[in-house]
């Protein structure tokens, strides 16, 4: 439990007001996502071992670790994308605010917990239709309000000025970095409470990466961000809290500064200092 302390402390001081939790003590801040004893299996293989983690509201939480450590698997459980994989099985608890994320309607969960993938995956549609997709799927009417919503999302994703004159061109005409920001805009359009980012800039050049990072940094005002990254500098630059995964276990979770400057565990220190991974 000591791993949680840093998070809780900081969100109490610096974080914006979290939703009230009648059950908790007055000084305790309700986490946005609360994961307890999460185990994950691909068939007989166990990819995650008893992960406990509380993710604070309106902060950026980075998950780092070597390839195959389970950080992406963990992320995909948070909006249950793992259910598309046959033979994937989960035990444990995931709570979004006070609701059981593993039991609620999966479409509803994914509307509240959006996801941006490693490789930009715009749909073979126009830029406008890409952003409007989530709204249409969820039954929003077209017209002016749709236009406003699309513009708003593109502005939030810092893409509006680059695409406002070609909204009806194919999304494939955009550069890789623009496509990734389009995917972020697409995710933002349904106004998610949490946005999961799975190595969102690993396929991009440094300039495009910088833009994504800046954008993500501003998004936390309205959204809780969980980002998986293999780039430790990236985690250090943008994340408030950082968790270190190794061999399917969450080794350490703390304020980013603490993880990078004064990690409690030897494995974390070895990884941070580049002794392996």
């Amino acid at each position: 439990m000591h791993k949680m302390m840093g998070t809780l402390e900081r969100s109490t001081i610096a974080g914006p007001p979290a939703p009230p939790n009648p059950g908790a003590a007055a000084e305790r801040v309700q986490p946005k996502l609360k994961i307890s004893q999460l185990n994950f299996f691909y068939g007989a293989y166990q990819a995650l071992h008893a992960v406990d983690l509380e993710i604070a509201s309106n902060r950026i939480t980075a998950l780092i670790g070597p390839s195959g450590c389970g950080k992406s698997t963990f992320l995909r459980v948070l909006n249950r994308m793992h259910e598309t994989v046959r033979g994937a099985r989960v035990t444990g608890e995931v709570f979004l605010d006070n609701e059981d994320a593993l039991a609620m309607d999966v479409s509803k969960l994914r509307r509240r917990v959006g996801m941006v993938f490693q490789k930009p995956n715009p749909f073979p549609k126009s830029i406008f239709e890409n952003v409007a997709y989530g709204l249409r799927v969820n039954g929003a009417p077209g017209g002016t309000r749709m236009k406003d919503a699309v513009e708003h999302s593109l502005r939030r994703a810092a893409l509006w000025d680059e695409v406002k004159d070609k909204l009806h061109k194919s999304a494939y005409d955009l550069s890789g970095g623009q496509q990734q920001r389009l995917c972020i805009a697409r995710g933002l359009a349904v106004d998610p409470e949490v946005l999961l980012l799975d190595e969102p800039s690993s396929a991009l050049d440094p300039i495009a990466t910088a833009k994504i990072e800046e954008l993500v940094f501003h998004l936390k005002e309205n959204c809780t961000i969980v980002i998986v990254t293999h780039n430790m500098q990236q985690a250090a630059r943008i994340a408030d809290d950082t968790g270190f995964f190794l061999l399917g276990k969450l080794i350490e979770f703390d304020k980013t500064e603490t993880i990078f400057k004064n990690p409690a565990k030897k494995e974390t220190e070895d990884y941070i200092t580049g002794r392996f991974g």
């Binding site: 479409s107 994914r110 996801m115 993938f117 995956n121 989530g134 697409r186």
Partner: protein
């Protein structure tokens, strides 16, 4: 002879043999094309497209009824075969796991290899015999049985080629599986799927064997889809084996028209698939 020279000799020889075979293939194709253009071109005129066949002995006339008949039969076959093949292909690509899809896939591949005349026999026994006469409908059923397996397999293949990340992108926005398929996966694969459909239709449009004893043939306009109906491929067969020179001439013209239709369908399939085609 040194080993080096021997290897060079084999190299040159094999290049020659393979190139000659490639040339032979092209030559046969152009030979057929030339034959058709020469013989068919001589006999093709406006009357071919506008008039009914003349009785033997009289010269002139056309195959207007067979052109319309072919169109009717192929349309019936497409209306039955394309939706079944398309939806079945979606099932195989998106939901197909386990024993049943394996059986479907295997059956489709087997059906693809069944000689087309057997499909004619099948349609004869399930449509012609109960109705007691030949009909465009029976021909359509026979051709649809050929169209279904090709459509189901090409649809499946093009849907499978759609990256998994697109499906995940749609699901992550709260779409359910069916919605993701309809709004993202199928549109992404549509050009390939449409190409497969066009090529399938082109194939059945040229089939004669399954129509011989299903739609049969007709020297006049068919009055309804329940009547024996003329079709271009069967007309070619009937006219080519007849003893009349004027009918031979008409058969060549029909061959040329059929070839032109094939060519048109193939070109449109290529246009649909080409990178220059408009995106969704």
């Amino acid at each position: 002879m040194t080993l080096h020279r021997w290897r060079n000799l084999v190299n040159t020889l094999m290049f020659g043999v393979t190139a000659a075979c490639a040339l032979a293939t092209v030559c046969v194709l152009f030979w057929i094309l030339g034959f058709l253009l020469w013989n068919g071109g001589k006999s093709l005129n406006l009357a071919f497209f506008t008039q009914l066949p003349k009785p033997p002995g009289e010269t002139g006339g056309g195959m207007a009824n067979a052109i319309i008949g072919s169109a009717q039969i192929v349309l019936i076959a497409s209306l039955m075969g394309i939706p079944i093949g398309f939806l079945g292909g979606i099932y195989l690509a998106e939901f197909g796991r386990g024993a049943f899809p394996f059986v479907v896939r295997y059956t489709a591949d087997l059906l693809n290899g069944v000689p087309s005349i057997v499909m004619g026999l099948f349609a004869y026994s399930i449509v012609v015999r109960p109705m007691h006469h030949f009909s465009a409908l029976a021909g359509g059923v026979a051709l649809s049985v050929i169209l279904i397996p090709t459509t189901i397999r090409t649809t499946e293949q093009f849907l499978r080629a759609v990256p998994q990340t697109l499906r995940e992108g749609a699901l992550a926005l709260g779409a359910n599986k069916w919605k993701a398929i309809v709004t993202v996966v199928v549109p992404a694969a549509m050009r390939g799927v449409a190409t497969g459909m066009i090529l399938g239709v082109a194939r059945i449009a040229g089939e004669s064997a399954p129509l011989l004893f299903t739609s049969f043939g007709n020297q006049y306009w068919g009055r309804s889809l329940g009547q024996p109906t003329a079709s271009l491929p069967v007309m070619i067969f009937t006219y080519a084996i007849s003893p009349y020179a004027d009918w031979h001439r008409e058969a060549w013209a029909a061959g040329l028209v059929l070839l032109a239709v094939m060519l048109l369908l193939n070109i449109s399939a290529r246009l649909v698939l080409s990178p220059g085609a408009p995106r969704n």
